[in-house]
Subunit: 181 residues, 2 copies
Amino acid sequence: MGRYEVRLGGSGGQGIILAGVILAEAAGIYDGKYVCQTQSYGPEARGGASKAEVVISNEEIDYPKAIKPDVLLAMNQKSCDTYLFDLKPKGLLIVDSTFVKQLPTSMALPIPFTQMARDRFGREIVANIIALGALATLTGVVSLKSLEAAVLHRLPPSSAEMNKEALLVGIEAAKNILHRK
Amino acid sequence: MGRYEVRLGGSGGQGIILAGVILAEAAGIYDGKYVCQTQSYGPEARGGASKAEVVISNEEIDYPKAIKPDVLLAMNQKSCDTYLFDLKPKGLLIVDSTFVKQLPTSMALPIPFTQMARDRFGREIVANIIALGALATLTGVVSLKSLEAAVLHRLPPSSAEMNKEALLVGIEAAKNILHRK
């Protein structure tokens, strides 16, 4: 695998940064890749479009930020609108359709992560974990085993069962999309 | 303030990445600065020297990684040895003297963060929060108010009181060093 760039976007409370840290640990610690994980805070973040980026490679990484993301996960409309512009032409756009109502391209893959989190767990906060399960399944950028290990390492043991289940919910949703295509 | 670079180093379980995320949020969200926060995973990380970097500026940040850190917080010997080399000539070296027994320079500021965490809270895991309190006091790079807000935002409410106290323990330790000089 050459350089692969993931950008995660959303608003403050959606757990974007935690998702970035987990994805980076999955690829770096458990899959043994080179990884750089970045987040920036500035006027954009305060406007409801915070982002976290993960660059993954089999080789050492020179520039740590995403240049042309291979995949954008947009958890709200603002981050979808703000961060789509430099997605690779054949890049993957995954959106949380709970909040992203205007799809900027017919290529977008809408999955209602937050709605699923509410319905299944009664807790919106796990939407990011569901989204990670879907993203890993759709891209193959990290192994599902490594992703689960990173989730369990980074989150409290008391929520381990819920988080494992949340990953499975995301994996299933992604598989449904893949089979539909 | 121009560009200010912070590097945090330690081994896997020492909460370095979480400390980086908290420091970045304190400066970016609560102090309103531009911030880039980076962590890299590679062979170094697997050898017990993981690092997190926070670049803080009043202006937009072009290159997100530390080039010449203004301060290095080394939570173990390995990260002290590995990451000291490109500290700025007049940069600040803060070490957890619980684990860093060989000080590479007489300019180093040794504080036994982990020992303090054990003694005061019976929990080594808060050593990183104590260290953040000391680092903020010694450098002034984030306001203590913003640091506390970021700690409380990022960590579970159930540990809020302990973490507030841990910050104070770190602030006090730093003040003792400043008064001794």
